[in-house]
Amino acid sequence: MSQVLYELRASWAIAKKDAAIYYLKPNILVSGALFPLFMFLAFSVGRPAEPALMIPGLVAITILFSSSTIEPVSIPIERRMKTFDRLLSAPISLHAIVLGESLSGFLYSIGIASVPCIAGFVLFGTGLSNGIPFLIGVVLTAFCFATMGTLFAAYPTESPGDIMSMLNLVRLPLIFISGIFIPIASIPYPGQLLVYCSPLTYGTDLIRAGFSGPTLFHPAVDLVMLLLFIGVFQVLANRLYKRFNE
């Protein structure tokens, strides 16, 4: 038990350290904060007011990009500076490292996503009818993609660009198969299968439930699926960090 506490504290220390060092780095601000926020603006401004349809998707995309950006940048840099060896040689398990890194992406993303949310709520009123699924949706989506970023960063490179390009190969298509811009019904059949493989689908769906928008699944299904993705990503990340540890 005390070891669990010990490791949780170390994870928290890792997240705090990342926050102090990376959150305001220019390249992270551009791809983790400005890019998603501009995307949000680009798609939300001037559209017919259908907040229940558009807003959940845009919030989910903002979360996707902001949560999965920190680790793919910070971990390769720390490999190059050899500070990553500090984490690898500390008396904590890989789980604590993966958790701490994911936590740092998670917190960043919550901070970024709250900007359009709060602004929207203040300027246009909420449209939010059910806070609980909305909050759970935001939190789980953020943690899920933060873990995905940590997972990608396991690739043993010292250059953030290598990981970013791999990651974008996944992140960008996710937008189109998650029912945000293109209604799922209009995606041809094999593509629809992909929709069910995307955690963004469930995240968007759960957030949408908060706006009482039309949903694909029962919120409980979304919740279970998101937890499942988080679990799988965490386990995979642990495996990969272990495997690439020479």
Binding site: Q3, Y6, R9, A10, A13, I14, K17, A20, I21, M81, K82, T83, D85, R86, L87, L88, S89, A90, P91, I92, S93, N245, E246
Partner: protein, 318 residues
Amino acid sequence: MIAIHVSDLVKRFETITALQGISFSVNEGETFGFLGPNGAGKTTTIRILTGISPPTSGSASILGKDIVNETIAARKEIGIVHETSNVYDDLSAWKNLIFSAELYSVGKEERESRGKSLLELFGLWERHNDRVKGFSKGMKRRLTLAMGLINNPRILFLDEPTSGLDVQSNLIIREVIRDLNTKGVTVFLTTHNIEEANVTCDRVAIINHGQIAAIDSPERLKKTIQSVQSVKVAFADADPSIKECLRELPLVNEVRKEGDKYRLITEKPPVVIQAVMECAAEQKVTVISMNTYGPSLEDVFIRLTCLDVRTKGVRAID
């Protein structure tokens, strides 16, 4: 008690075998040196002993805890100073230190009091709130050492602690190692600096190409090669041809020119001294000084690692 036990450790990377089955033990309280040229496998050994890198085969334990199966328990006993000064440039010295304390679950009061005394010890307290980015190489190295000691380890691993540092940083670090030693902390340090191994270590393992060539105290290692004693002589105004003359002397195995002096390698220095005086008289040159030397650790090192740099007149290993 045995602090570090290593048995038949092998590490293979894709193309090369970095460690070819090394075995040794380090006793608690000992300062143990791992001396070897570049690429010998020193860092690889430390990375395995600290559980960063898994061994291909063989085993290692820290205070009786297996490094593969009881990694976390083993790591709680150790402090590590990595080969590169891996500090966070964007954090202050103080924040760096506190972060390592947090990784090792050092309690708040303890880390603040120990943090302050460590920074004072390493002469960094005045700069504790400054970002590390502006620190000199020696300051970063000293901070790395302070970070390695924040958890009050029973065993300290130091990967080339003083490489490339100035005299002052060097002295502080050596002093700290000596002090740790008197407090009963086990120190495992790697170096390619022979003098450092000679003056700081109780025992030294000489490693080359992933194999241990010898392990013993520096003095006993020197005794194993009595045949490389030497006589160093300086002449007032000698013609370079004197070298030929010296080479012809009986019992001289080799003559090396070292600056304005000549070193004659021999097993019998007294006989050679006599012969040199006679040779000088014959050539009508004056001997200014003459000294005899026992084997140095460097000689042992050169002998055991088969480094043949003498012919080029190079003497230092780095």
